[in-house]
Amino acid sequence: MTFRFLLLIGLSCIHCFANASNLTLYINKGSLTIGTSFISACAFNADENLNTKSEIIELDVNEVINITVINTDSLEHSFTIDGFIDSNNAIAPFQTEVFSVSFPNPGTFRYYSDKSYGANIGASGIFLIGFPNESHFFWNLFDLNKQLTHDFANLSETSYPADYLPELFFISGTHYPFTLEDPQTKVVINNGQSCIISVVNSGYMDHVLHFHGFHVEILSAQLAADRVGWSKDTIPLKKGEAMTFRLVANQVGIYPVHDHNLIAVTNAGFYPGGMLTQIQVLP
């Protein structure tokens, strides 16, 4: 095991005694069934069992985390965070690397493997930094074609074809209606409270989320930084985007949130499905 102290940013005086924590991630690759769809997948999981929902990592601002990444796959991977850990790193097959990182500002960041088929079949996860006093929810957007995941996995394809036909649209490793079963995906909140929603677009396409019943404030954006502070109900997330929203629940009820690129609210063509979840505001 080697130790890489790749980038340690911004230990300001305010947080000079910030906590350090440790985490182990496993890069797993294999095949599994989501709903009725059999796909190949790769993910960063908490143990050696493949799960399409990559781990969510929550940190305080300036908190240093030491992440031990164990590659259980037979191909090389990376642990990349745009702007923090570049893709020059490599985790050899069946090897382990340790990465240390901290973030000087609150917000959402995406980590992923950009080596081999990594992110193309789902090896992509979320860092949420800060916002300690509100409840947190997480949406990791991903689009895929079932056969293409197998083609990536067996290396018969190495890049997206020009005629890419996305047919499944995931939020955090699954699609509607299973999105409603994940307490980190379905937003449940009491009326009068606010919450933080942390979103990354890990897919190949741009996506655009529409909130029913609410506008949300954009608190951070890695690509559309000029939109921080805007209050919107329909928010584009370009490929690779990572955004943080604050939702203030001011009316009771159940309200959908979905991709307004409407081919993405289907499961292999069936409506409703795909990138669709709900906000439930309790009295």
């Binding site: 047919e167 919107k232 959908p256 690129n261 081919i263």
Partner: protein, 378 residues
């Protein structure tokens, strides 16, 4: 018959609370004439007594109105009205799984208070992937008093509304064969239901020097839309999704499915160049089509008595401005304190000067004939 009546409920010194009612119907028997002369089917809404249209009727609502939309479904399938961006409560949200649907030959009512000015949309939320490509959408504007984009916001003397959309002609020709829905690919691209050469100057923008023009932009397309505003339009974005945003000058504006923007334009006098509107695939990023919105500024006579034979346009200025001078000679720009800031050599007639180096504020322009104009730099 268009049924829009406003009942004044109460007078207050600063606003009028109104009650607005719209009577709409939904149908599935529309016929849309395409640019090539062929026709395809569309589903949509119309005011009761009027022809159904694509897009559906644009609804104008005074700010703070209590709004009722009665919808009668004359079609053989269920439909709803989702009030996109208006943040209505669950029962009025128009999502059949969480609200209600309106079955064939039945009627339903949606009610809400329009408490935010701006640009919004409405559309059917039943089997949305299909019903939107079939054409069931329209625009709603909630209008602040005194021709302002929002209370305290920029004013305008006229407004134009542009709703971009697209459809997959094969789906509209045979919607029963539309499955699987994820394969829907738009191949016909519209602004307010028109495409290509169907968009003539009658559907374009005529502006005047007497005041600014508001543009309300929304998209129900499956494509990513990119507007290209010529620099001489002096386009400034002020709102998105029915909320004020920090104003910014814009020459290129992306509008994703479901997004809306409100802008103010102040074109140069005599400006005549179209706004181009591009449609890009949301999957591949490929440019699929371009439409053009004609723009003609008719306020060519800035040499008017009200301007004492001299003029600057637009004013407020966002950078480049057109200055009309009755005489050739030097024009001097002063700060309000009287400090001279710059000197320009003007010819008699039209001159174009770049004021972008000046920070926001009020300046005085001493013209070659000795008269003084006030210039506002935004």
């Amino acid at each position: 018959m268009k049924n829009l009546f406003i009942l004044v409920l109460a007078f207050a010194p600063t606003y009028i609370m109104a009650q607005v009612t719209f009577d709409l119907y939904s149908g599935m028997d529309g016929s849309l004439v395409l640019e090539n002369g062929a026709s395809t089917n569309f589903w949509g809404y119309g005011f009761i007594g009027d022809e159904m249209s694509l897009p559906a009727p644009f609804l104008n609502i005074p700010l703070d109105s209590d709004v009722t939309i009665n919808m009668t479904n004359t079609s053989p399938e269920s439909h709803t009205i989702h009030l996109h961006g208006l943040d209505v409560d669950q029962v009025n949200d128009g999502v059949p799984q969480t609200s209600f649907f309106i079955a064939p030959n039945e009627s339903g009512t949606y009610q809400f208070n329009a408490n935010q000015s701006g640009t919004f949309l409405y559309h059917c939320h039943v089997t949305t992937t299909l019903h939107l490509t079939m054409g069931m959408y329209g625009m709603i504007t909630v209008n602040a008093p005194n021709n302002k984009l929002f209370p305290g916001g920029p004013g305008f003397i006229q407004e134009f509304k542009f709703l971009t959309s697209d459809l997959d002609v094969s789906v509209n020709n045979a919607p029963a064969l539309a499955y699987p829905f994820h394969t829907i690919r738009p191949d016909y691209f519209m602004i307010n239901g028109l495409s290509g050469d169907q968009i003539t100057s009658d559907q374009g923008i005529n502006t005047f020097s007497e005041g600014a023009t508001a543009l309300r932009i929304g998209s129900m397309a499956y494509s990513r839309i990119v507007y290209h505003f010529p620099e001489e339009l002096n386009a400034v974005a002020h709102m998105s999704d029915g909320r004020p945003i920090p104003a910014f000058e814009v020459t290129e504006l992306e509008v994703y499915p479901g997004e809306r923007f409100s802008l103010i334009i102040n074109p140069f006098i005599g400006f005549s160049e179209p706004i181009s509107v591009e449609y890009y695939s949301m999957i591949t990023g490929e440019l699929l089509a371009t439409n053009f919105i004609p723009v003609n500024d008719l306020g060519v006579n800035i040499h008017s008595s009200s301007l004492s034979d001299n003029g600057v346009y637009p004013n407020p200025s966002h950078g480049m401005s057109r200055v009309f001078s009755s005489l050739g000679g030097k024009m001097v720009i002063f700060a309000p304190t009287g400090r001279m800031l710059n000197v320009y050599n003007l010819r008699e007639g039209d001159n174009f000067i770049d004021l972008s180096a000046f920070s926001s504020g009020i300046y005085l322009m001493q013209m070659p004939d000795g008269s003084t104009l006030k210039l506002i730099r935004e």
